[in-house]
Symmetry: C2
Subunit: 273 residues, 2 copies
């Protein structure tokens, strides 16, 4: 079973209950050693205040969510996107985040050109990467479930993310999220292939039935993913970073008291990760 | 653009509007040359009556839906499943269906062992195949979208389905459905690899947003799939069979008059396939 000393909670897990300041305080008080931070919540809190609080509470920032959303309709939009991504790099650097999570983006408005969107993602990552390297921030490409290919992320398998890493070189790796990848028949081989390029490891569960494509993720143990098996594969690569619980759950966990959610995450982390 | 002379409609597209007898009559009257039949509707109609009506109306049966659902909790359930699958083979033979669609099945109740379910699928297909060969019925393994891996189908990529075909030998091929496969970064290469093993080609569209994992498929042209591009790849294999429209749409197309749905299918087939 997983060691609670390696646990992080992605603040989206209690996003309806907690501001960033509240999340930092609540996770730290519960003895959770890590937090992953979202930029919209960071903007509300202010970067300096967030840095101060994270330090004061001794939390490790397992990731900043998120850069990416690269495909765009024109050059101006691409430039605006690059600027925003550089800003995210700066924030990740100041926070000392373990990585900057990249959710690549889907089809531009009105487009059906998925291969074209994928080329834009590659080129935009290539344009961002020197800036990230200079800032000492590693980019974690997170393949998202194929059901998000149209509107959220056209990088949909670990294999595809690793091909991108191969092409882009140093400074970029992957985020492995069991929710997005558990179904993949070649997952074990691709996790092995990833090796030391695994920068983040996210857990939650796939519910049967799933009632919403985005906001019906399950607590570990409530679904059908063999999480310990995937964790074993990730462990075998030598990954020893934080393991992050990330649950979007509009109708269940977001409606419960924050303390109950955190406590349940810890119990299930112990039992089902 | 696709030729209406190659069009088939999967009767699920008007399943709320039509019995099988009504669907056969309505599709034929509209000049649609093909139909794909579901076994629950076939049971209501009766096999002999269905065969007579299909012949009288001169329809080609592009597929029988469906065999499969192989993973099971114990030997008795596996045997019951095999018996049901043999019955499906018999029905497909009598109907003269172009193929028997196989939706392999997901995890058995209570299981999280996805690799195990996949082995059950392989072994069950192996057990069914001699019977199907003897009946002259080809089995079309349909990879389903990864979002169905838990509860419906653990075969989730064309690559995986073709690996199964390689292992099983003659008498088995694949059904290519754009809804399930459009996101796959290696789809073009896998369609080429499939070659003459493509036994069915299904079209509909992926809506953004999609509001239900099962019953919110779109009419061709209403979503983000580049259907003509995928059709071109399928054409390039030499596939010259029927192209089947299959739309599950509880809140939209299932609520409209059957005639309107059929007419729209034809218009969009001409324009968006």
């Amino acid at each position: 079973m997983a060691d609670l000393g390696r646990m992080s909670i992605n603040q989206a897990t209690t996003r309806e209950q907690h501001s960033l300041a509240q999340a930092i305080a609540a996770y730290a008080q519960a003895g959770v050693p890590g937090i992953s931070i979202w930029r919209d919540k960071l903007a509300e809190c202010g970067l300096e205040e967030a840095v101060r609080m994270v330090r004061d509470h001794g939390l490790q920032v397992s990731g900043l969510c998120r850069a990416g959303q690269f495909p765009a309709v024109d050059a101006a939009a691409r430039q605006a996107c690059l600027d925003d991504n550089k800003n995210a790099v700066d924030q990740a650097a100041v926070l000392g985040a373990d990585c900057l999570i990249v959710v690549a983006g889907g089809l531009p408005e009105g487009s059906k050109d998925l291969p074209g969107a994928r080329l834009m993602i590659r080129d935009s990552l290539g344009a961002l990467l020197p800036y990230a390297r200079a800032a000492g921030v590693t980019l974690a490409i997170e393949p998202l479930h194929p059901m998000y290919a149209g509107d959220r992320c056209a990088i949909n398998t670990l294999s595809q993310a690793l091909d991108l890493c191969d092409e882009l070189g140093a400074g970029v790796g992957v985020a492995v999220d069991v929710y997005h990848l558990w179904w993949d028949p070649i997952l074990q081989a691709q996790i092995k292939r990833a090796g030391d390029r695994i920068l983040a490891f996210h857990v939650c569960d796939w519910l049967v039935p799933t009632t919403d494509l985005l906001l019906d993720r399950g607590m570990m143990g409530d679904g059908v993913i063999d999480i310990p098996k995937i964790r074993e594969w990730v462990d075998d690569t030598g990954y020893d970073g934080l393991i992050e619980v990330e649950i979007f759950s509009a109708e269940n966990w977001w409606k419960r008291p924050g303390g109950e959610v955190i406590r349940t995450c810890q119990e299930r982390f112990n039992k089902n990760v």
